[in-house]
């Protein structure tokens, strides 16, 4: 796998090259689960012109770094909260490759019209009980054949009583996807697993 040229890893610190100013920006693994995954050895397969669907974009901290990585691509940021979306819309005015969409990730048909071409990668960062069901719905509609996903599983959102549910959840995921790698994000994020998989 070829590493993206805008992604720089130096002495345990992660930087991206800003598309507007060409300076290095530090990517904090304590704020972003994708950065935590990179620190743990899971480097996402993002090209200069890949198209990405980001479910649970929130205020756009991670989305801004991903927009650095894809100079010619597009990232669709979807979120349900109007307050977070205000900040994401402001961010999208500076960065021309972000498209903000205010919708519920559960209701795929509502934003089907906005995403015309299929995407290369889906990143999901929503803490919901039916996380995997939502991911499958989106992947069926929007993901290319052999496209990839990055899924951040929040274990405490799925079950408070039983924390050892990774296997059960991943079995559910394996019906549609081939799991390539999984890491726990322990020093950076508690009770989280980052999964990297490919559509069958």
């Amino acid at each position: 796998m070829k590493m993206n040229k805008n992604l720089i890893i130096k002495e345990k610190l992660i930087f991206t090259k800003d598309i507007n100013t060409n300076k290095n920006r530090e990517w904090n693994p304590f704020h972003s689960k994708i950065a935590a995954g990179i620190r743990k050895g899971l480097i996402p397969n993002i090209n200069q012109d890949s198209k990405i669907l980001y479910l649970g974009a929130a205020e756009g901290y991670t989305v801004s770094f991903i927009s650095d990585l894809i100079e010619n691509g597009i990232v669709y940021g979807i979120d349900i909260s109007p307050y977070s979306m205000q900040k994401l819309v402001l961010l999208s005015e500076d960065r021309k490759n972000i498209i903000p969409i205010l919708e519920d990730c559960n209701l795929v048909n509502e934003y089907k019209a906005f995403i015309e071409t299929k995407v290369d990668l889906i990143i999901q960062d929503i803490a919901q009980k039916n996380q995997i069901e939502i991911l499958k719905k989106n992947a069926n509609l929007f993901l290319k054949k052999k496209g990839e996903i990055i899924l951040s599983l929040k274990l405490s959102a799925i079950s408070q009583k039983n924390i050892n549910i990774i296997d059960r959840e991943l079995k559910d995921l394996e019906t549609d996807f081939r799991i390539i790698k999984k890491v726990r994000l322990e020093p950076f994020e508690k009770k989280h697993v980052l999964v990297f998989a490919q559509k069958k």
Binding site: P82, M85, Q86, V89, S92, P100, I101, L102, A113, F114
Partner: protein
């Protein structure tokens, strides 16, 4: 679809979501929740100094009366009457003045405390204005629920449900227990008795009943609130009939 078109649609949706009555009511009631605590804290700090000048006066007057009395430049009897303090309390003030147990504060300290008192009065007025605004919004949009559930309880229910539309889908039994979710699920987990009431416990009609009948009445009340909320969605005015039924039940149980 073009990128700019999608962004325009998103901007419109943000406006629609933020500009509805439910969101305004929830925001205002969240502000109002913390204001009384702030007022009480500041009032206690003010009294550390003013108690030297007017000891035990706080027991006779309300916070608003106390602060507005303290802010008067000329504390003559006519001026005191203007800020709606009763004759009984004016006698109390005179008694404290004549008792010679207090000291006169110097000007520098007085200037500082006057500012603090102004802040407290401002907070009290803000709270009153927000209360009025919430009542206005509720009366315009949800008449039935406003009259049956009282504004404070309705606001808290809205906060938990997120929107009035979602609240209207709750059954009466859920409305009865709104606010006691933690206790309810704890009881289910350990096979204990489930709670009988949630926020509804603070309703003036429930408070006035003997302890034995509170649960029975809160069940009736929750049923009527649920009907009222559903009537609001369909724009019917049925609160006088519901109120009568509630009053009959209340008389039985008193």
């Amino acid at each position: 679809m073009d990128r700019n078109e999608i962004i325009e649609i998103t901007k419109q949706k943000i406006k629609e979501k933020l500009n509805n009555a439910d969101q305004k009511i929830i925001n205002l009631s969240q502000i109002i929740e913390k204001i009384p605590n702030n007022i009480n804290e500041l009032y206690e700090q003010l009294r550390v100094i003013t108690d030297q000048e007017y000891p035990t006066l706080d027991q006779a007057l309300t916070i608003k009366e106390y602060v507005s009395f303290y802010l008067l430049e000329n504390k003559s009897e006519e001026n005191i009457k203007e800020i709606n303090i009763s004759d009984k309390n004016i006698n109390e003030i005179n008694k404290i003045k004549n008792s010679k147990i207090s000291i006169d504060l110097n000007k520098d300290i007085n200037n500082i405390t006057l500012n603090l008192a102004k802040d407290i009065l401002n907070l009290i007025e803000t709270k009153e204005r927000i209360d009025l605004e919430i009542e206005k919004l509720l009366q315009e949009n949800y008449v039935n629920a406003y009259h049956i559930a009282t504004p404070q309880i309705l606001c808290k229910m809205l906060e938990i449900a997120g929107s009035f539309k979602r609240l209207s889908r709750f059954p009466a039994s859920t409305i009865q227990l709104l606010g006691s979710e933690k206790n309810f699920f704890k009881a289910l987990k350990f096979n204990k008795n489930t709670p009988k009431y949630g926020i509804i416990y603070n309703h003036p009609l429930v408070v006035s009943l003997p302890f034995k009948n509170k649960a029975k009445f809160s069940r009736t009340l929750a049923a009527k609130i649920s009907i009222a909320i559903k009537a609001d969605i369909t724009n019917n005015e049925i609160y006088p009939e519901l109120n009568e039924k509630i009053k009959i039940k209340h008389k039985e149980l008193k």
